[in-house]
Assembly symmetry: C2
Homo-oligomer: 237 residues x 2
Amino acid sequence: MARTPVLNVTTIRRLKAFPWASDQQVERILSQMDLHHIEKRTVLFNEGVPSDSVYFLISGVVKLSLRSPDEERVLVSLISPGELFGITSLMPGMYRAFRSEAFSDCWVSSVRPDVFVTTLLNVPFTDFSALMEGTVGRWFALLYRYTHFQGSSLRQKLALALLELAQKFGTQDARGTMLILQLTHEDLADLVGASRQKVTEHMQELARQQVLLRDGRKLIVHPDRLREVAGLLLDEK
Amino acid sequence: MARTPVLNVTTIRRLKAFPWASDQQVERILSQMDLHHIEKRTVLFNEGVPSDSVYFLISGVVKLSLRSPDEERVLVSLISPGELFGITSLMPGMYRAFRSEAFSDCWVSSVRPDVFVTTLLNVPFTDFSALMEGTVGRWFALLYRYTHFQGSSLRQKLALALLELAQKFGTQDARGTMLILQLTHEDLADLVGASRQKVTEHMQELARQQVLLRDGRKLIVHPDRLREVAGLLLDEK
DNA sequence: GCTTTATTGTCACGTGGGTGACAATAAAGG
DNA sequence: CCTTTATTGTCACCCACGTGACAATAAAGC
């Protein structure tokens, strides 16, 4: 087993982490971080569990992945030394979106997100995380959709896209969730990266299966059934 | 033309924006925001231009899109009232990743990112944006890759994925950029959402065309040629 | 060094979704 | 209300990529 690395200000600077922070701030955060050695293939956290730590990779490579509808794993990203990861913990009440596991033997350190923010930015954690949610939360929702597109059929992609739209533009209706938005099949096609014709076909199929219905040019969707079509577990999102 | 909306604390609260901010902070930010009416199809900003404002959507729908390799437009997202957008401006030196245009007639207000951060979070902008870059910057790079996957062939997706890997794990070599990472074709397949067999075929093709070469199980890539294969303009990223 | 296991290379075959072409509607505009 | 234009519906054909099935290497373990 590799010997324990030294984790001090010099190491942090060499890894080009936290460039804005003063030496003093870095010292303080280091005193609150703990160090773990993780062997290749060990899972650090799984998707769906509560996000309660920020991680910092000192050496090795960490892999972020996701389960696709057909039980395959989507490789989302590989993390290199000096990177922070597990940052869903910077937003309130979020769950892990990806599984993280050691791609090679790693040294990792972790810290509580509130300690991270208050130490390095000197701002209350609740304010910071609320701002994060209001700004980059949207990016996160996008990333969620796009990563889940991987390995999905057009039918599943459509369901995912409609789910996101229902969350943003949906109003409750006796018959389901109505999208207050005039979307053409061409718009949907551009959204899921498909041809207009195939979107028309699949939308009819989904209507036939009572997953959605059309009222003039407004759509009424049934989120639970969409989730089912998209191949998401019922507890997801 | 619709009459000018009132933009005051009540409006902000109704739109559920900035929930963490005090009335006083909201008043202050409002006094620094300016209001624009934007007609359907008007472009607010294009991808590639410097990011110098944060936008807030008051009414209407804004569309974010992207040019795909085959000149089609990828619809990345639709923004609903109450959302902030154009937040690449919260990170240092970033360019717009997407084009934003009015999907319907809109009322939008904008503010300088430094004013936004200092007013609502009371923290120096340079510190904040450096932290953003070190944390959510990675998400952003992922989103970049995944949005560019839309409408790309496997060949182009591979090129994009290898480019991202070269930036993270590349070291300069006499023959190009060497990836200090042992990746199997199966890993690459999981990364781009393809089958292992097709990845093998395309990697050979890329090697034959001198876009990359193999030294044992290490890859040496030529970023410029990868960019060309990926269908990116040379100034992108 | 030899065996076992992981990775790469190569095929034949099937299929989901792209493309083009057009008809049938529905909306918009005068 | 009638014309024009946008959207939806339907089909035939094609192709890039997935799948399964092996052989050929290369790496790892003993």
